[in-house]
C-alpha cells in the first residue's frame, strides 16, 4: 500500500514505516515560536531542566503579535525572548521583520519534505511548499527545542481535488472560505489535507500559502501540496537547503477524496463569528463597514497588496471608513514601496502599520469600537478576536476588502475589475 505525503515525511523523520493512526517520535528540521507563545515555552524549557537548545540553527523566535510593544507587560515578555535568543544563539526576528508565517519560508529556513512545528496554529501555512508543518503549544515547543524531537500521531488524509480555473476577481482566499463552508470548522479535525488539481497548478505560490494557511480553520493538522516546478523555483529563490519533493503514491490510502469544480466559486465572505459561516458576497452587499484590514499571514504578501492597490489606485477610501494595511514582512513592505503599491494604498487613504499580526489578533493597531463592523483579509472572525467582543468581523479577499472600503459597505469586487 502506498503512502500519503504525511506518512512519507513522518516515516523519513522517525525511521519507522509510519502509517495513519500510529504514534511516532520524529526528528524535526525546524521549530518556531512567536511572542504570544514563546514566553511560556521558555518557562517550560527551564522547568524541564533544560539549559541548551538541541540545535540553535533549527530554532527561530519572532516578535510579531505585538510589534512594537503596546504595553509594559508585553515589553517584559519581549525582553525575556531577546535574552533567551542571545543566550541560546537561535535565529531571532525582532519587531518590524514581519509575521512569522511570511518570514519562515521567505528567509530560507525550510526545504520541501521538511518536518517542522511552530507554536502558532497557522504554522500549517508551509504545507503549500511541501513541508509537513503543524501548530503546537508552548510546552510542546519547549520539549522540541530541548530534544530536537516531538511525538506525532500520523494523521489520516483528506484529498481535495480542485478542477478548473478560478474566475476573474475570485482569489485563493475566496476558495479557502468556500472550502471552509463546505467542510465546516471541524470537518478535517486531526487530519491532513492534500490539495491538488488544476486550480492549484495555476495559482502563484503566494496564493497557495493563503489556502494552506486556512487548513486549520477546518481543524486540519496540515494543509499539504506537492512541490511542482513553480514551488521548487520559489524555494530555490528563497534559500531552501535541498529541493527533493515528496509526493503521495497513486495507491495511497485517503480517508476521503473530495473533488470540486472551482469555476463556479464566487467572491466569498465569512460572517461573524465563525469562519465556516460563509456566503457569496452578493448576499451581503450593503452591510455597513467601519474598518477594513489588509494584511496578516493569510493575505499580507506582495500579491495581496497588489490586488488591493489595483482597485484602490486613483480612488479614495470612504470618509466613514478606516483602512489599516499591515504588510506581512519587511521584505513585502520594501517591495511594495519599490513598486509603488504602498504609495497607491496610502494615497487612497490607508493607514500603514508595522509588519505584524496586531490588527488580526487584537493586541493593538486597530481594535474596533462597540457595534462596529470590520472587513478583514485575516483568517479568523471569532468573537473578540480583534480585541473587542462587541465588534463584528467579516472575512474576505484583498479585492473584496478594497472594494468594500471604497463603498463603505460590503461590495462585490468584480464591479471594480478593469475592462
Amino acid at each position: 500500500m502506498g503512502k500519503t505525503i504525511s506518512e512519507k515525511i513522518l516515516s523519513a523523520h522517525s525511521g519507522v514505516d509510519a502509517r495513519a493512526g500510529q504514534i511516532v517520535v520524529a526528528q524535526l528540521d525546524f521549530m518556531m515560536g512567536q511572542d504570544g507563545t514563546s514566553p511560556l515555552a521558555i518557562e517550560a524549557f527551564r522547568e524541564m531542566g533544560a539549559s541548551r537548545v538541541s540545535d540553535p540553527a533549527k530554532v527561530a523566535m519572532v516578535i510579531d503579535h505585538s510589534a512594537p510593544s503596546p504595553l509594559e507587560g508585553v515589553s517584559r515578555l519581549h525582553a525575556l525572548m531577546r535574552e533567551f535568543a542571545r543566550e541560546q544563539g537561535i535565529t531571532f526576528y525582532d519587531i518590524g521583520q514581519g509575521v512569522c508565517h511570511c518570514l519562515i519560508p521567505e528567509r530560507g529556513h525550510l526545504s520541501p519534505g521538511d518536518l517542522m512545528v511552530g507554536a502558532d496554529s497557522h504554522t500549517c501555512t508551509y504545507g503549500a511548499v511541501n513541508v509537513f508543518a503543524t501548530g503546537v503549544g508552548s510546552t510542546d515547543l519547549a520539549a522540541a527545542m530541548m530534544t530536537g524531537k516531538l511525538w506525532f500521531k500520523v494523521p489520516q488524509t483528506i484529498r481535495i481535488i480542485l478542477d478548473g480555473a478560478l474566475p476573474e476577481g475570485v482569489c485563493s482566499k475566496d476558495l479557502a472560505l468556500w472550502l471552509a463552508g463546505k467542510l465546516t470548522a471541524d470537518g478535517a479535525t486531526y487530519m491532513a489535507i492534500e490539495y491538488e488539481g488544476e486550480a492549484i497548478d495555476e495559482m502563484s505560490v503566494e496564493a497557495r500559502f493563503t489556502l494552506s494557511n486556512m487548513a486549520v480553520e477546518m481543524g486540519a493538522k496540515a494543509g499539504l501540496m506537492e512541490a511542482d516546478a513553480k514551488a521548487l523555483q520559489w524555494m530555490r529563490e528563497h534559500g531552501a537547503r535541498t529541493l527533493e519533493r515528496v509526493e503521495s503514491d497513486p495507491d495511497a490510502s485517503f480517508v476521503e477524496t473530495l473533488e470540486y469544480r472551482v469555476h463556479e466559486v464566487e467572491p466569498m465572505v465569512a460572517k461573524p463569528h465563525t469562519v465556516d459561516n460563509v456566503a457569496p458576497v452578493g448576499e451581503l452587499e450593503g452591510i455597513r463597514i467601519d474598518q477594513g484590514v489588509i494584511g496578516t499571514c493569510t493575505n499580507g504578501r506582495v500579491e495581496d497588496l497588489e490586488i488591493a492597490a489595483g482597485i484602490l489606485r486613483g480612488r479614495r477610501v470612504n470618509p466613514d471608513v478606516r483602512l489599516v494595511v499591515a504588510p506581512a514582512s519587511q521584505r513585502v513592505l520594501l517591495e511594495g514601496m519599490d513598486r509603488g503599491i504602498i504609495r497607491d494604498l496610502v494615497e487612497a487613504g490607508a493607514a500603514l502599520v508595522t509588519p505584524g499580526c496586531g490588527p488580526c489578533v487584537g493586541t493593538h493597531n486597530g481594535v474596533p469600537g462597540d457595534g462596529e463592523n470590520v472587513i478583514s483579509t485575516a483568517n479568523r472572525n471569532f468573537k473578540g478576536r480583534m480585541g473587542n467582543p462587541n465588534a463584528f468581523i467579516y472575512l474576505a479577499s484583498p479585492a473584496t476588502v478594497a472594494a468594500s472600503v471604497i463603498e463603505g459597505s460590503i461590495t462585490d469586487p468584480r464591479r471594480y475589475l478593469s475592462p
Partner: protein, 165 residues
C-alpha cells in the same frame, strides 16, 4: 482519580479567543488568566465557577489559536475536567501537556444540563450525571497519552526520560 462538580454548559466551536482573549497574553500568571477565562462568552463564569466544576460543550472545543494560556486559564479557574463532543487538535495536545483532564463523549454532552452535578472517574472514563443518575462511558485515551497524563504532563515526562538517558 475521581472528579466532582457542577456542569457549565456551552455550545459548538468554543474557541481559544473566547477562552482567553489575546489582550491577556501579556499575563502568564495562571491565577490572573483565570480571572478572564471565558469572559467574552460568559461574563458570569470566572466569578461563579467553583473548584471541581466541569465544562460540558458541543463539538470542536478549543478551536483556533495554539495559545496554551487557554487550557492553563481553565485549569487555574478550578475546572476539574472538560467534557466535549470533540476537541480541536492543538487544544487537545496542550490540555494533556499541562495536565488538564479532557474527555470526548458525545452521549454525556447530550445527557448533562447546566448546573447538573457530575462525577467523573478519570481512569475508567466513566461519567455520571448525579442529577439524573445517567451513566456514560467516554473514549479511553491512547496508551501513549495515558502515560503522559499519569506522569502529570509533558514537562514531567521529559524530565523522566532525561533521567533514564
Amino acid at each position: 482519580m475521581i472528579l466532582k462538580g457542577k456542569a457549565w454548559r456551552y455550545g459548538r466551536n468554543v474557541d481559544t479567543d473566547v477562552i482567553i482573549p489575546a489582550r491577556y497574553l501579556n499575563v502568564s500568571e495562571p491565577a490572573e488568566l483565570a480571572k478572564h477565562c471565558l469572559e467574552d462568552l460568559d461574563p458570569g463564569f470566572a466569578c461563579g465557577v467553583h473548584p471541581g466544576d466541569i465544562i460540558v460543550a458541543e463539538e470542536n472545543f478549543g478551536s483556533g489559536s495554539s495559545r496554551e494560556h487557554a487550557p492553563v486559564a481553565i485549569k487555574a479557574a478550578g475546572v476539574s475536567c472538560v467534557i466535549a463532543k470533540s476537541f480541536a487538535r492543538i487544544f487537545y495536545r496542550n490540555a494533556i501537556n499541562i495536565g488538564l483532564p479532557i474527555l470526548e463523549c458525545p452521549e454525556a454532552v447530550e445527557g448533562i444540563g447546566l448546573g447538573d452535578e457530575v462525577r467523573v472517574d478519570l481512569a475508567g472514563g466513566r461519567i455520571e450525571n448525579l442529577a439524573t443518575g445517567a451513566i456514560f462511558q467516554a473514549q479511553p485515551f491512547p496508551e501513549f497519552m495515558r502515560r503522559l497524563i499519569d506522569l502529570g504532563g509533558l514537562e514531567e515526562y521529559v524530565r523522566e526520560r532525561l533521567g533514564k538517558e
